[in-house]
Amino acid sequence: MTGGVGTSVRRPDGPAKVRGEFSYAGDLAAEGMLVGSTVRSPHPHARITGIDTAAARAISGVHAVLTSADVPGDLYFGLTLRDEPALADGVVRYAGEPVAVVAAVDAATARRAARAVAVEYEPLPPLTDPQQSLTAPPLHPDGNVYRHVSYSCGDPDARGVVTVENTYRIGMQDPAFLAPEAGLAWPTPDGGVALDVATQWLHSDQTQIGWATGLPPEKVHLRLAGVGGAFGGREDVTLQTHACLLALATGRPVKFEYTREESFLAHRQRHPGTIWLRHSADADGRIVCVEGRVLLDGGAYASTSPVVITNTVTLLQGPYRVDNGRFEGWSVRTNNPSCGAMRGFGVPQAAFAHEAQLDALAGALGMDPLEIRLRNALQRGDVATFGQRFDAPTPVREVIEGLRAIPLPAGPARRAPGGVGRAAEPGSVRRGIGYAVTIKNLAFSEGHVDESTAEVSLCDGHATVHTACAEVGQGFVTVAEQVARTVLGATTVEVTQPDTLIASAGSTSASRQTMASGTAVHRACAAVRVRLLAQVARRHGLDAAGLTVVDGTVCAAGRPVTPVAAAAPGQTLRATEHFQHPATYPLGSAEGGMYVAFSFSAQRAVVDVDVELGLVSVVQVASCQDVGTVINPTQLLGQIEGGIVQGMGLALMEEVVVADGLITNPDFQDYLIPTIVDAPEVVSTYVTDPEPGMPHGWKGAGEPPLCTAVPAVAAAVRDATGLPLPAVPIKPEHVALGLGAAPTVTWTTPRPAAPSRAVNIVVDEEARDAPGTMAEEGAPGGR
């Protein structure tokens, strides 16, 4: 079908975007609007001994100044543990924590008023080392450990002939979506509040705004405003609650729009972490045992730290069969910036470490890096270290073979390392080739309900699709349109702006929206089709069971009966359908698996490195990814290329540098994201083995390319330089000065696994650290 599933349909919001007419959250305005500004803590840790707002209130044009004392509902919010105050509650725990908010007639007045709020701080020593957090006095009544995960499988003392171990470090990455946070709130006649906002998850925001305002959900009305990128960084509440509180307090519309610096301070970052891994393998490269320990710095408040740590720990095994292992990890509280969701959600950290280990094993055994990966590749039917059976297509070998089939780039690179400055000397440039293969879990995990609802109506061939799925740039609007064309035979499709008038679609994260909201749309379209065909059957005296929709036409036994557009003139047929993945269970549960689905990805990076200056140019990244089925080739390529470049950014340049709890580079001058000059050529191929239980066999595709690019690029730089490079981002000085320790290789006497312990999973979790409770709609189980 023209414009249906499988074709490169153009984005429906594209024309407005190329004309500059698409309305983003930052473009919002309303009659009589006030502008909000936030007073933020300059200290990473301090006691607040006094707040005087009188001077701020006295400024002409200021309509409200709110502190925690003015929050009518429950002060505390959060995606999992609800440990964060909407406005500081006597203590500040990170630099940038909101202490007060101001609404004034314009931005300049609001900023001036914010500066006039006098906050007295008694600075406390900041706890900035996550290792020390484990034993330090608690920074918060809820303690310092967000979650401790510990389990083993098989016989963790089993050994092969060789053991490699090393400690890996991953820096803090900023989602750096290009449109800073913005939203516009206003009081509604029902005594409630409305908010147009750029977010990833309308219903989670709605719940959390409800807590602070004391309003029931039906009086908190959210609509999605145009979103300029998200990548996980809009999953948590930032300005949402503040805008609503101020709108209610002033009776006026209130708009917030963060500056870039505030954006760095306010949203959650990717967790920096330290990962120790020890792999033991047979002489033929087969993995005998893996032991791993992870420490993630969650920063000041929980956000999704309890969930992220579990992803990192459980996926340390990589896309390889591991029968014996011992895994442990902590995500902990510090006075560093809060960390939470970012594309990959704990997996890039694991992937960087396990892939460095596979290369170290291959190096020790003199094996080809792809050969050792093929030898250990997971297959359908294998059981994960965390006890889940891979019972869907598990094409690890296939993505590796697919990658191997892509030719290497021919000839010299177009440009030397160093970008437009061309600083590299030809004599010191070395080429390197690196490989990585990764596993990424798709959708929510461990019992967090993963669901969506869609309402579809059809009238004279025009379909309207309504969900609460946040379009953040990824292209769900296109997918929804394609589904409506294919399933329903719609001639034209409108995907309406998401809002809270329909049930939650969950977050636009975890590579999940095609699977969740796409499937809900598919089901609703199928339900409308049933009604349509029933009408056609009645009208034409046919058996509805024999009718199909092909290319916009209702057919009986392949013979056209009527165009869909003329099948039920003037009538609107409507259906609302819900989709929910089969249940998942906490780690260690005997009832079922932790994860909904998995995707596998293999990449090869080719780099040129000036080994004297430490400058790296990524020449090409080739990718072969397990995508279930290709819904829209152009959009899929956009996800692959975009993910690879973000992963490359983490591998080579992106790091939020935090010194004594303060972000030293909260701008694009010093926080470097890849430019067009840095971007490599990308060659992208796919393995299409349909995912069972999903319409069209689709599965999520957004996160794997990033997860794989980080280790692939790092491996290529290692290959070019011969350096161990156990930390990302790999900065010029790491290469030029050869910083970082090499893996320790030990030759061991083989010790086979004790058979009695073959398939036992032992979960050893401290009682107080219950699994993340993002139970209903991210609406946590309360404090």
Binding site: R11, F177, G228, G643, I644, Q646
Partner: protein
Amino acid sequence: MSVDPLVADEFVTFPLTVDGVPREVTARWSESLLTVLRDRLGVLGPKTGCGHGRCGACAVRVGVGPDEPHVLCACLVPAATAVGATVETIASLGGPDGELSDVQEAFLAEGAVQCGICTAGFVTAATELLERHECPSRTEIEEALYGNLCRCTGYGRIVAAVESAARTRRERKDPVPLTTRKLTASLRTGPEAAE
């Protein structure tokens, strides 16, 4: 450049031409052209990404005085220097009769648009590039666009879009059969030949 805060806070009224329409605006001297456009005049095509000239989301074409108009970041231009300026935003870059320009069309066709917050800036910069270079090399494309950040696409589709728009433009101007054109191109010297 440091601005006297007293002067910076002073309001001033001055004329400028935005997208062909003469406007008069009252603004603080210290405000950026981006603030003038977005907050004073309601011209929302240029976007705010970083506010310090690093992302290019606010790229507009500005002509001041006798100089040839060129693309720059509106967030870096103090209103004081925009007095009497001619500003062309993305709204000036459409095709005839409200159609999309060839560059806009190519951005859509090649999938160069995702969240779109950078798109107006990229289209603005790419349009200027193609006015100067009929057949830009990959390196020339990079040099023209490295002031524009995109966080979604990884740039691959953006390069494809610019190359496609250039190709379409050449074909429209010079409808020579493909084989002949390839031969001609290979006989050329200069950066194109190296591609």
